[in-house]
């Protein structure tokens, strides 16, 4: 982490040496202000346009040129809707909502967005997002139960069930990918893959491709919003700012999942080695940062659109059916992919 912060110090070109904590905050702010929020905005806009196109509608076209300001307009509307952000009388609900927000906003330190934003790059880094997902789901459950409404309680319970059932196959699939890379460290996982598709983990062996599919579908189960039927969801009673933050949390979940899938299976943020070495030698860290971000986010955006497209076109299955899918199909497949990857890697080593 110290090396990373040294690079940031050089990148920022400041004459004095700021405290390390300040640099960490700067990195987090960079990720939030220049990556997460703009990306959420872009995704929301393109998602609405694409969905409208699939539904033979025009989509947002009022606010700004071709409706590009529509998301902003919605945001303004949501923020005006509920002036009493944390009103009294809802203390329990507010406590869990505060914790939810804190987790949401600190969870960004786990995000592997490039070699220069890896704040936590330990031997167990790849497992940390799962911990975050569990805690976030637990928090959502308590938040929904604290609302005291039957439908939001059902929604919260379903979120918890989704996360628990999707996590097992996804964790096993992650182990297969990390086994191929030889580590749970983000930097090692990234280095084990190349720039072009044939050197991406997902396409190096059939077992890793199965593992990739299991990881994606497991993620869908984990992050799938519980069916909205009759408003049986956590957000059914939310409005205004709380609704916005809750939806941002759901987006963050999908984004986090897609980023991890890209890092594990789709070549991470890798650029051609010659280009990387040249930029590093000339100390163009800012350029490295943006190229890596660009590569990673382009792949992530593509993956997110594919996944959301599949979700949008198909009906949602019931929570017990999602659990069945996870336990009876995804889990055995993930175990097959893990064992297959062990044998494949062992055979390659012996040969």
């Amino acid at each position: 982490m110290n090396e990373l912060l040294d690079v940031w110090e050089k990148t920022l070109r400041i004459s004095f040496s700021p405290p390390r904590g300040v640099l960490v905050v700067i990195v987090i702010l960079f990720v939030y202000l220049l990556v997460l929020f703009p990306f959420a905005y872009l995704f929301a806009y393109f998602d609405r346009k694409l969905t409208a196109d699939l539904q033979a509608r025009v989509g947002p076209n009022r606010a700004g040129f071709r409706g590009v300001l529509q998301v902003f307009a919605d945001l303004v509307k949501l923020f005006q809707k509920d002036p009493a952000f944390f009103s009294s009388g809802f203390e329990k609900e507010n406590i869990w909502f505060h914790i939810y927000i804190m987790l949401l906003f600190t969870g960004v330190v786990f995000l592997p967005l490039g070699s220069l934003t890896l704040l936590i790059n330990t031997d167990m880094s790849a497992l940390l997002p799962f911990c975050a997902a569990f805690v976030l789901a637990f928090c959502t459950l308590l938040f929904s139960l604290s609302q005291g409404e039957v439908q939001s309680s059902f929604g919260g319970l379903r979120v918890a069930v989704h996360v628990l059932s999707g996590a097992f196959p996804a964790l096993v699939a992650l182990q297969a990918a990390c086994l191929y890379a030889g580590s749970f460290r983000w930097s090692v996982i990234s280095e084990s893959q190349g720039v072009f598709p044939q050197s991406w983990a997902a396409f190096t062996s059939p077992f890793l491709f199965i593992s990739f599919c299991v990881f994606i579908v497991g993620g869908l189960v984990m992050w799938s919003l519980s069916p909205e039927e009759g408003g049986f969801s956590v957000s059914s009673k939310l409005s205004g700012k709380k609704f916005f933050i809750f939806r941002l949390g759901r987006f963050y979940g999908l984004f986090l999942w897609s980023v991890i899938a890209v890092v594990l299976y789709l070549g991470a943020w890798n650029m051609p080695a010659s280009l990387y070495d040249g930029l590093k030698n000339s100390q163009e860290y800012l350029l490295i940062l943006f190229i890596e971000l660009g590569v990673l986010l382009a792949k992530t955006l593509f993956l997110m659109f594919v996944v959301t497209g599949i979700v949008r076109v198909n009906p949602k299955i019931r929570v017990d059916q999602a659990t069945d899918l996870s336990w009876k199909i995804l889990s055995p497949l993930s175990l097959v992919s893990l064992i297959g990857t062990v044998l494949w890697s062992g055979w390659s080593y012996i040969r």
Binding site: Q55, G230, Q321
Partner: protein, 380 residues
């Protein structure tokens, strides 16, 4: 009944989305559910929040105006309300409706049937949370509403029928447009099959869910597609033909896929039956448009001058939701003495408490949507 169950009232006055204005019931309905975890053990239905004194209003107005009220019985199927009242009044007056008018009535009825069945697909798609599926169907339904607009100037409450025929003759090019839409819908049925019938996720959500047995159907008097999906073969168009349906060759798709199938009568079959019914409606439309003769479209010179003699009559039509019955009593005055409707949704709503027993809460709306109930029709 167990006493440790959670009682949960879903009603129009609790601000709950499916209570007051959820699209699947097209009106307010109150459900009182007793749930055990996610399973509904027992439930009751309460209607009456949309009571408009429709029958009373009809009695207070002259004969000419009554048809507008009859069309409001079920705004989405306005033509059937008008038609059944027309048939009853024409029976009292022993009016011979011209063949051209009869054929136009058949065309309008079948278009309304297709439109309502497509609307059913939309409701079901929305309850399984697939807006894209819903929009695909809505796109085609628009074409039928365009046809209504072309002929009558209205898209829903048509107000096109009158005692003794129809108000106006069909416009130039209308028949060609109807046939074009038939061709389009026929092609689209393949698409609907792709996105619904053969969709694994849809099958998971609809098969073996909300099963209605033949016994329940008969005991509660459920009619229409809901009954036919459970294997009860009854269609007024075949049993007691009206408007010249006896001269049209068509099949009544009934339980052809359900013979021996233990899941017969579930949500999936109710959906599938409507797909088959759309195919048959297209067949009827093709034949009816071919058979439209040249001639008068109304027996009365003016729709304003109408004298209904004393008497009473009963008429039945096969609406898209089931058998719609109307009983009219006339004492020779300018207003009817009594008009009573027996809409199909009454029986369909009565079986809700039976059909939701043992289903999961997540399936509640899917099952309700599959019954295709119009609260407007029940409350009148």
């Amino acid at each position: 009944m167990r006493s440790d169950l959670t009682k949960w009232t879903i009603g129009p006055f609790l601000g709950f989305p499916q209570g007051f204005s959820h699209g699947i019931t097209q009106g307010p309905i109150k459900l009182e559910l007793f749930i055990d975890g996610e399973v509904i053990v027992h439930g009751t239905v309460e209607t009456g929040y949309l009571y408009r004194k429709l029958e009373k209003a009809i009695r207070l107005h002259p004969w000419v105006s009554t048809l507008s009220y009859a069309g409001r019985l079920d705004p989405e199927n306005a033509v059937f309300g008008e038609l059944v009242l027309c048939l009853a009044v024409e029976k009292i007056g022993k009016t011979e409706v011209p063949l051209r008018a009869q054929r136009i009535r058949v065309v309008l009825s079948e278009l309304a049937r297709i439109s309502n069945h497509l609307s059913f697909f939309v409701s079901v798609a929305r309850t399984v949370d697939s807006e894209i599926m819903a929009q695909y169907v809505l796109r085609d339904r628009e074409k039928i509403l365009d046809l209504f607009e072309l002929l009558t100037g209205s898209r829903f409450s048509l107000g096109f029928l009158c005692y003794g025929g129809v108000r106006k003759d069909i416009t130039d090019g209308f028949i060609e447009r109807v046939l074009e839409v038939c061709e389009l819908i026929q092609k689209r049925i393949k698409e609907y099959n792709d996105i619904y019938t053969f969709n694994a996720a849809f099958i998971k959500r609809s098969k073996k869910v909300g099963k209605l047995s033949k016994e329940i159907i008969i005991n509660y008097g459920v009619t229409g597609p809901n009954a036919r999906a459970s294997g009860v073969s009854y269609d007024v168009r075949k049993e007691q033909p009206y408007c010249g349906y006896e001269k049209i060759d068509f099949k009544v798709p009934t339980g052809i896929f359900g013979q021996g199938d233990p899941s017969c009568g579930d949500v999936y079959h109710r959906f599938l039956l409507r797909v088959f019914e759309i195919e048959q409606s297209i067949e009827i439309l093709k034949q009816a448009t071919e058979q439209i003769p040249v001639g008068r479209f109304n027996v009365n010179e003016s729709v304003q001058s109408l004298n209904v003699p004393s008497g009473e009559a009963n008429a039945r039509v096969e609406s898209s939701r089931g058998v719609l019955e109307c009983h009219v009593v006339s004492d020779g005055r300018a207003q009817p003495n009594s008009v009573q409707f027996w809409p199909p949704s009454v029986a369909s709503a009565a079986v809700i408490s039976k059909v939701i027993e043992g289903i999961k809460i997540e399936d509640l709306l899917v099952v309700l949507a599959s019954l295709n109930i119009s609260v407007s029709e029940i409350d009148q």
